[in-house]
């Protein structure tokens, strides 16, 4: 499945969350990640994020797209990150 993950984390923990997300998903711009991920992978990521964040102060939203068939992605301005496979 394809997910879009956005977060709003208190500054002291934000790098930890950033680093964790980088293991699974592609950085798109500040506080936004996206990428193809398996069900198990997402479960793992959610669990690991759960250990880092504080449920009273932080928030993570995961948009889950079962298929990207009817999806289009438009960028205005600079493209900051992405999923390029050819580097």
């Amino acid at each position: 499945m394809f997910v879009i993950l956005v977060y709003d984390i208190k500054q002291v923990r934000v790098t930890k969350v950033l680093k964790k997300c980088r293991e699974y998903l592609y950085w798109v711009q500040n506080s936004v990640f996206e990428g193809e991920i398996t069900g198990a992978g997402l479960k793992k990521l959610k669990m690991e994020l759960g250990h880092i964040m504080h449920p009273e102060e932080d928030s993570v939203i995961i948009y889950n797209l079962r298929t990207t068939k009817y999806y289009s992605r438009e960028i205005m301005g600079v493209e900051k990150g992405g999923m390029d496979q050819i580097i």
Binding site: K19, R22, E23, Y24, L25, Y26, W27, G35, E36, I37, G41, K44, L45, D84, Q85, I86, I87
Partner: protein, 331 residues
């Protein structure tokens, strides 16, 4: 399915923050999510350290590396994670028993011939004048089942392939990309360069898939097992070369995406320029991601997954569960 990364830029690949990090010479920084990588193909000058290799082993990521001219040089094949002495023994058994080995080798040759026929028929339908090639392949294909030793099989295989290559000029129809004859190490003309490059990509992709099964890539059947390299991937790649590599070549040339200016002649033979290689690789990756219906599973599978399924079929054959029947394209 996890992704393949193609590194064309020069730079440093390292372990950072428990994931993989690539910093190019010109300062571009990229984090590659470990959980989403299945293999890395390094074309550029990439420096790395043991810490990274350890991490790659642990994460079961395979690395293929190519030299400056784009020729396959080797593979970092991490410690086997799917060990099976049982499967190794079955593989060796089928190698050592001459009749079993010949039987398997024939199946690979037949599969390859069938797929070459598919390609030829496909272009025949598109009004290319290659019916004589088709007939010739069909005739030679019939000899496969009667053949009773390895040498004659290799000879038939060579003949089928030569006949098949005769169709190339008619399909492409561009004098600059004339096939002439097959030359390797080094390839002597544009067409040969494209074939060699595509084939080596194919070999490494199959090898990566073998890593994900219990099979041992060192024991091949059609290609003799020897002391230096992986051979099973060469056998399996035979089946997919016509329908993947050759089709990509025809598509790229058909769209006029490649021209003579994309190549350089040197002591290493004719070599593709970097942008041409990138284009080829992009097309190749796209192709492997395209899906088609797989009858026995009744669902859509990508070509990359199809290779894995082919290996599972081979495992079944080796275990004596079900005879191996190579994949033949359905279009």
């Amino acid at each position: 399915m996890k992704r393949t990364f193609y590194l064309f830029s020069n730079g440093e690949l390292k372990r950072k923050d428990n994931t993989i990090y690539f910093e190019t010479e010109n300062g571009e920084k990229r984090f590659l999510p470990v959980e989403d990588i299945s293999e890395i193909m390094a074309f550029g000058e990439v420096s790395l350290n043991k810490r990274l290799l350890e991490f790659l082993s642990q994460s079961e990521i395979i690395v293929h590396y190519f030299n400056y001219y784009g020729y396959y040089m080797g593979t970092f094949y991490p410690r086997e994670h799917m060990n099976s002495g049982y499967m190794t023994l079955r593989q060796a058994e089928h190698y050592l028993d001459d009749s079993k080995r010949l039987d398997l080798a024939k199946r690979f040759v037949k599969g390859a011939a069938d797929n070459m026929l598919r390609v030829v028929k496909y272009y025949e339908k598109r009004e290319k004048d290659i019916s004589n090639v088709r007939e010739e392949i069909e005739r030679r294909r019939a000899d496969i089942s009667d053949c009773d030793n390895g040498e004659t099989l290799m000879a038939i295989e060579g003949n089928v392939r030569n006949t098949y290559y005769e169709a190339f000029d008619a399909i492409v129809g561009q004098p600059a990309f004339a096939f002439e004859s097959r030359t390797r190490r080094p390839p002597r003309n544009y067409m040969n360069t494209l074939i060699s490059f595509g084939n080596s990509m194919m070999y490494s992709v199959v090898l990566s898939q073998i890593y994900r099964t219990h099979l041992d890539p060192r024991i091949g059947y059609l290609h003799a097992t020897n002391f230096r390299r992986f051979t099973l991937n060469l056998d399996v790649a035979e089946i997919f070369k016509p329908i993947i590599v050759d089709r990509i070549i025809f598509t790229l040339l058909g769209r006029r995406q490649l021209s003579e200016n994309d190549f350089v002649k040197g002591t290493e033979g004719v070599v593709m320029k970097e942008n041409a290689r990138k284009m080829f690789v992009e097309e190749f990756d796209q192709k492997l991601q395209t899906t088609q219906n797989y009858k026995s599973l009744n669902r859509q599978v990508s070509y990359r997954h199809l290779i894995r399924l082919e290996l599972y079929k081979l495992e079944k054959h080796l275990m004596g569960e079900k005879q191996y029947d190579p994949y033949v394209a359905a279009w």
